[in-house]
């Protein structure tokens, strides 16, 4: 049994994003006309309104912008304390995730973290959740 997590927001574009995670691939839509990455996924490029896009692989490297630690339980699946981070991916988009293999006290502004995978499931099925940790581990 994969780890139960709060429910994903699902639409036809999100379905494709999460389908790639089953193969442990982190892919985001990249506009075929102007090259802008977008996240969350959707039908058009916000820069040029093109509806042509490819699911481009993401290197899985980002710099820490900010974090917060929940001291109260908001979800049954995430007892307190639970820390969430926001990264700026090398490809441009900001990406929300949570840190693994690192203490909150060791997080630093602009620290580089890299992609890991952990399992997840909700009523839409099983998937893998992209999380981030120090490159050396």
């Amino acid at each position: 049994m994969a780890t139960a997590r709060p429910i994903r927001s699902m639409d036809p574009y999100a379905e494709q994003f999460w389908a790639f995670t089953q193969k442990k691939e982190l892919r985001l839509q990249k506009c075929s006309a102007c090259g802008k990455f977008r996240w969350p996924p959707g039908p058009t490029c916000d820069k040029c309104l093109s509806d042509e896009a490819e699911w481009a692989p993401i290197a899985g490297r980002g710099k820490v912008l900010s974090w917060t630690t929940f001291r109260r339980k908001y979800f049954e699946e995430y007892p307190a304390p639970h820390t969430v981070i926001v990264l700026e991916l090398d490809e441009g988009p900001l990406f929300v995730s949570y840190p693994v293999d690192i203490d909150v006290g060791s997080l630093r502004e602009s620290m580089v973290l890299t992609l890991r995978w952990t399992d997840g499931q909700d009523r839409f099925g099983e998937y893998n959740l992209p999380v981030f940790g120090p490159p050396s581990v």
Binding site: R5, P6, I7, R8, S9, W39, P40, D46, L65, S66, W67, T68, T69, F70, R71, R72, Y74, F75, E76, E77, Y78, H82, V84, V86, P93, L94, F95, V96, S97, Y98, E109, G120, D122, L129, V131
Partner: protein, 400 residues
């Protein structure tokens, strides 16, 4: 934005509509109930319409107007326009919906177009009675995707998004949690001078620092209240506002700008602190009213979280970017200080009316006679609205 706003047309709307009446429910008494204790969340005592109706009647009484004088209606987000009109026996020539600042701007537009002359803006929210959730599994977002999209990673609640904002501010500028605490302390001090405020117990900076974190680095007192209440505001064409019960308070300036590109990614929140929207609104509202930040006598900001004040002070030019933490120290934002902010206690300590309770307070401050809570010589008041980068501002004056 490639398309510029028209400063001349906007300027011509200065002082064309006035606030002629305001009404609010008994926030403190309703919160404490007959037994003097706070009602538990989910113990239904009120519904949205009960509170809204009470506020509307009070606003009409305050203005000395009858309901048949109303020909336009704006409702807050919890109310259905149809049901509200049916309940109050209104067939308006124009109606709108939104937050308080949005409704004031839209009412000004509708009145200036000639669609109507007298608009009632009405809000009611029984959020404590109904145990409304602003975080966790029951959150739907109300049109703001970042409020629910990251649930699989455990990110939820507007408070956590403002915690990310403040953490970024700390990292970039060295702002401290103790500096932030001055905001909650000041607003509580104001609430203690306001008999209608929910919170009546003084708060020291030690009380603030000793309170538990909710989403670190934000603590309990950085968060707004969850209480029941209603607010109504009567906006009327200025030339019809002169001989009523109250001295009219003019809507002298307004502005509107939204920063939505990459909003779900939190880019405008964390990379810009929403300052692009703030600067755009500042460029509209100050020239329209013919004032600068230095002329503002009373200031109020949307404050679901204390952090909002840092953002708006920096974004509207009351201090430099990154200096908000230092600015709010030493009583500067308290009544008697250089820039009294959220003088009713705001949403942190008076009532969480989602922008609606700030307007009656600014109107009252300009009318005068508030006793200890009165900002002496108040002539120009400003409200700044910023919910996830949807920014608006209103400047009120006594007119000429």
């Amino acid at each position: 934005m490639a398309v510029r706003f028209d400063r001349e047309r906007l300027g011509s709307l200065k002082d064309t509509v006035a606030i002629v009446g305001v009404g609010e429910t008994d926030y403190g008494a309703d919160y404490r109930g007959a037994g003097g204790q706070a009602a538990k969340k989910g113990e239904a005592r009120y519904d949205h319409y009960t509170l809204a109706s009470q506020a509307l009647k009070r606003a009409l009484d305050d203005a000395g107007l009858a309901k048949d004088d109303i020909d336009g209606l704006c409702t807050g987000p919890t109310l259905s326009g149809e049901r509200a009109c049916e309940l109050w026996g209104l067939n308006p020539r124009w109606s709108g919906s939104g937050d308080a600042a949005q409704c004031i701007i839209e009412a000004a537009m509708a009145i200036n177009c000639g669609l109507c002359t007298t608009v009632a803006l009405v809000y009611g929210n029984a959020q404590r009675s109904m145990n409304t959730a602003y975080g966790g599994a029951r959150v739907t977002g109300g049109g703001i995707t970042s409020y629910f999209y990251y649930a699989p990673w455990g990110l939820t609640s507007q408070g956590a998004l403002y915690a990310l904002f403040f953490q970024r501010h700390k990292l970039l500028y060295g702002t401290t949690e103790e500096q932030l605490g001055a905001i909650a302390v000041a607003f509580r001090k104001h609430a203690c001078m306001n008999p209608n405020a929910v919170m009546q117990k003084p708060l020291t900076i030690d009380d603030y620092m000793n309170a538990p974190y909710v989403a670190e680095p934000l603590r309990l007192f950085d968060y707004c209240l969850i209480n029941d209440g209603g607010v109504a505001i009567i906006v009327r064409r200025a030339d019809m506002a002169k001989d009523l019960k109250q001295k009219p308070i003019m809507v002298s300036g307004f502005g509107w700008s939204e920063e939505n590109v990459d909003a779900t990614q939190l880019r405008p929140r964390l990379k810009d602190f929403y300052h692009t929207a703030h600067r755009d609104v500042a460029a509209q509202v100050y020239p329209m009213a013919g004032v600068t930040p230095r002329d503002i006598d009373v200031f109020a900001t949307y404050d679901s979280f204390s952090v909002h004040l840092l953002a708006s002070l920096e974004g509207f030019g009351f201090c430099k970017e990154g200096e908000g933490g230092a600015f709010v120290q030493n009583g500067r934002i308290e009544i008697g200080g250089e820039l009294p902010c959220n003088t009713s206690g705001g949403m942190l300590s008076e009532s969480y009316m989602q922008s609606w309770n700030h307007q009656p307070e600014l109107v009252r401050q300009l009318r005068g006679g508030l006793g200890a809570r009165q900002v002496q010589g108040a002539e120009v008041a400003q409200y700044v609205h910023d919910v996830a980068g949807k920014c608006k501002s209103i400047i009120y004056t006594k007119g000429s």
